[in-house]
Amino acid sequence: MSRLQTRTLVVAVLLLASISLLVLNQTGQLAGLKGVLLIPLTALQRSVAGAGAGLGRLFAPGGDTAALQARIDALEAENVQLRAENIQLRENTADLQLLTGLLDYERSKPDNRYAAANVIGRDTSPFLGYIMIDLGSDAGLARDMPVVTEQGLVGTIVQTTCCASVVRLVTDADSAVTARLQTSRDEGIALGSFSGGLELQYLSQQADVTPGDIVLTSGLGGAYPEGLVLGTVSAVQRQDYEVLQKAILTPAVDFNRLEIVLIITDFQPVDLSPLINTPAAPAP
């Protein structure tokens, strides 16, 4: 057998192995193996992520510039916190104006429970919007749990292993979140886009939407809690001849600076699939 034939055979075996992995992954039979293989990689990733943060500080500007930068950072952080508080207060006011009963229900709800996790990596593919965090099923995390920061909704957990989880960002092209405009209460769906932005689509032509409007999760569909901040409207795309309009959003969360996130561990997503798959009852 010539060298080229041997090489072709080896490559054929490798391609076959890759295709088998793809098929096993699609059928969900790879979770256990992936969890085992991820343990050493996650440990390595955690230490590299820590070292990377230290390296970033090493290259920070020195002297007065550093003090000024620290002051700016502190003020920016305070600004973000105040804006988040402001948004929350306005949301509460809107809730009060809508239905007292809903507010009573909201008061009666137990507070959310959170788990804090470090972001230890981003997706290795630039085509995908996922991050990896350092908590997994051992810490009680599970698929579909919402992930937030004080700025707003980050995404949702899509995979967990014992000690790490993969979070799909709301800006991923496959992400869709039912959303509501805070002021007008009009509803749409916030879709992620390839460029890492958010678009509020399926808004009716009559919807009152203007740049600067705040967009929150609506809770419809049961996949996310209601009232989490998604972003603000930066532009509106409306054509008179179209049935729907859409808005371009500026995400509330700065996804390039995610370091620590909170996972809402007591949120129970509603599984609507049995309702959707139930065949219609025959007419009497």
């Binding site: 060298r3 080229l4 041997t6 090489r7 072709t8 080896v10 490559v11 490798l14 391609l15 192995a17 890759s18 295709i19 088998s20 992995l21 793809l22 098929v23 096993l24 992954n25 699609q26 790879l30 992936k34 293989l37 991820l38 050493p40 990689l41 390595l44 990733q45 590299v48 992520a49 990377g52 230890i120 990596g121 981003r122 997706d123 290795t124 593919s125 630039p126 085509f127 995908l128 996922y130 990896m132 899509v158 995979q159 993969v166 799909r168 991923d172 092209a173 496959d174 886009s193 390839f194 460029s195 890492g196 390039n256």
Partner: protein, 167 residues
């Protein structure tokens, strides 16, 4: 044997670096594909069979650290490294243009195969935006970094396989 001795730790570290460091350093939407550079360089150094094996190992590490389908990067990198290995005995190996031309075509092919697999496994793929905002900048970044990576690996390869001394 050096394919595994050097490859396994190096490719694992490269994949982790890609997830932690290089994913933050991007030009438009494109990032350096460090594992691709390593697999292509190892192939062009003369490890015609080891290159695709590096592609598989490195691709698997990338897939494990990604939310994408497991096997997609592995398959893409094996295919690209194999095509690069077909240059054996066709070109003068130490010509400076060979690694540069290989990484240019290799990056485009790697991204095309990967995007096809993403689309085939149900992910939303925006072809035009992907190719213009990610692939083109990645071609530029990979081409810039190819020669340092190639020469570093060639140096390591010489350490592992010293030329026999004839008296």
């Amino acid at each position: 044997m050096s394919t595994y001795l050097l490859g396994l730790p190096l490719l694992a570290v490269a994949a982790v670096l890609q997830a932690t460091v290089f994913s933050r350093l991007h030009l438009v939407g494109g990032t350096v594909d460090l594992v691709l550079l390593l697999a292509l360089s190892w192939t062009l150094i003369g490890e015609w069979q080891g290159g695709p094996v590096w592609g598989f190992i490195g691709g698997l590490c990338l897939d494990l650290l990604s939310g994408g389908p497991v096997g997609a990067s592995a398959l893409s990198l094996v295919a690209v490294a194999y095509l690069a290995s077909l240059t054996e005995a066709r070109f003068y190996r130490s010509h400076v243009l060979l690694p540069l031309a290989t990484v240019l075509l290799g990056t485009v092919l790697y991204h095309l195969v990967y995007l096809t697999l993403l689309a085939a496994t149900g992910h939303t793929v925006s072809w035009l935006a992907s190719l213009s905002q990610v692939t083109l900048p990645a071609v530029l970044l990979n081409t810039i970094l190819m020669l340092p990576v190639y020469h570093a690996l060639r140096w390591a390869h010489r350490l592992l396989h010293p030329a026999p001394v004839t008296i």
